[in-house]
Amino acid sequence: MATWQQPEHDGEDRPPTPRSAACPRGITVVPNGPVLIEGPVEVAMPDGTTARSERVVVAVCTCLRSRRLPWCDTSHRARPRRTSARGE
């Protein structure tokens, strides 16, 4: 299984994604973007339903603009902000 670490040079001052035997599930917070989680995942939705994704990596929307919640559909890009090619 691949590891999904925060690149060291994304310009944000924050520790890299924890990766250890005690915390095997890698989660990466993309600034102004989704949260990347190693799949498969199940998301318990507020309406009581469960959204499931089998992907190796899943992008969960945090901006709540996605038309396919809980998944990111890149609608977060509409926000005016600075970007970096190697991570938002």
């Binding site: 691949a2 994304d10 992907r55 990596v57 899943v58 559909d73 890149t74 190697r86 991570g87």
Partner: protein
């Protein structure tokens, strides 16, 4: 094996397109004619000199290049697979590639930084000329939608195959991440989820022939250039930075376009999953793929090879350039009330 359910939009006949004897495409000039002529012979029987290289953007050069690359991917009707590594044919291909790469370099100019090139993909200028997906949402038309699907079929039916060539050329986290993306492209272990297969389902759902290269004669140079660039970058290890940049741009640009095409289908009242899943899957998958490509593949490659930055930026710019050229071709044809395909409109869905 039957590969798809009966669809909502096809009428009573079989879900596959009209059967036609598999045939090589028609030549579009002296070079593509020379290639087609030699492919009908036994490998090693010689390739005539082509003289002056043709216009790299033209129909003749793009078809000739496409045929040379196609030998790497699949059988061509009646062609001995031994041509794939025929030194004389490879030499001819090298001349076409050289001219194409030089034309791309001229058209791109200074590619600038990776970040700026990617920013242009992520945040296309508002009010710029509309691409096919935006035009199809603006004016939904099933025949135009089918045209668009026919164009893209020269790539989409082998989707992710040219990009798989990156795998042995990368290392570390770049390799791991590109494999994760490709795993998704190839259905994550499930044949019915392979993206190329979803595209075949879409084609049949729209009453189109999903056979490999069934519409090659119809697809013009601006679309062949899109897929030839992927092959050019993929089949040369020295161009791996371009391949990585191009793939990242492809993934980053895909979600919004797929969402528009899903909207266009909805506006057309087409809700058959055979048609919709290809697009809805890409909205979601490519939102993930974009992150993996940018953060891990480009990030990892730049860490391993800082000198790759210019090639990565160039690959990104080429993706944008060729999409824009293809978009302009389609837009101009549709604005003039013409078909954007070679040889005029397809047989309409209603007529099938």
């Amino acid at each position: 094996m039957t590969r798809g359910a009966r669809t909502a939009v096809t009428d009573g006949d079989a879900p596959t397109g009209p059967h036609r004897p598999p045939a090589l495409p028609t030549a579009r000039g002296p070079v593509s004619k020379a290639v087609l002529d030699v492919l009908r012979q036994a490998p090693g029987s010689g390739v005539p000199p082509i003289g002056q290289a043709p216009d790299p953007w033209g129909e003749d050069a793009q078809l000739a290049l496409y045929l040379c690359y196609e030998l790497h991917y699949r059988d061509l009707p009646g062609v001995d697979a031994g041509w794939e590594w025929d030194p004389q044919l490879l030499a001819l291909r090298a001349r076409l590639e050289e001219a194409f790469l030089a034309a791309l370099r001229t058209a791109v100019g200074d590619p600038g930084s990776v970040d700026l090139a990617m920013d242009a993909v992520l945040h296309p200028a508002r009010g710029g000329p509309k691409g096919p997906s935006a035009l199809l949402v603006e004016r939904p038309d099933v025949e135009r939608f089918r045209e668009y699907v026919v164009h893209r079929s020269v790539f989409q039916l082998k989707e992710a195959d040219p990009q798989a060539l990156l795998i042995p050329r990368l290392a570390g986290r770049a390799k791991a991440a590109v494999v994760a993306v490709e795993f998704d492209e190839f259905g994550a272990g499930r044949a019915e989820r392979v993206h190329a297969r979803l595209y075949a389902d879409l084609m049949r759902g729209l009453g189109l022939d999903d056979g490999c290269n069934a519409y090659l004669d119809r697809v013009p140079a601006p679309m062949l250039a899109v897929v030839n660039a992927m092959s050019l970058f993929g089949w040369h290890r020295r161009l791996r930075g371009m391949a990585a940049g191009h793939f990242a741009a492809l993934e980053a640009g895909s979600s919004p376009g797929a969402a528009r095409l899903a909207d266009a289908l909805a506006l057309l009242g087409i809700d058959d999953p055979a048609c919709t899943v290809f697009f809805t899957e890409h909205v979601e998958a490519d939102a993930v793929h974009e992150q993996l490509m940018r953060r891990e593949v480009l990030g990892g490659l730049l860490e391993d090879e800082p000198g790759a930055a210019a090639d990565i930026a160039f690959g990104i710019r080429v993706s944008t350039l060729l999409d824009d050229r293809f978009g302009a071709h389609v837009r101009e044809a549709w604005a003039a009330g013409r078909s954007s395909l070679r040889g005029g409109p397809l047989a309409s869905l209603a007529a099938r």
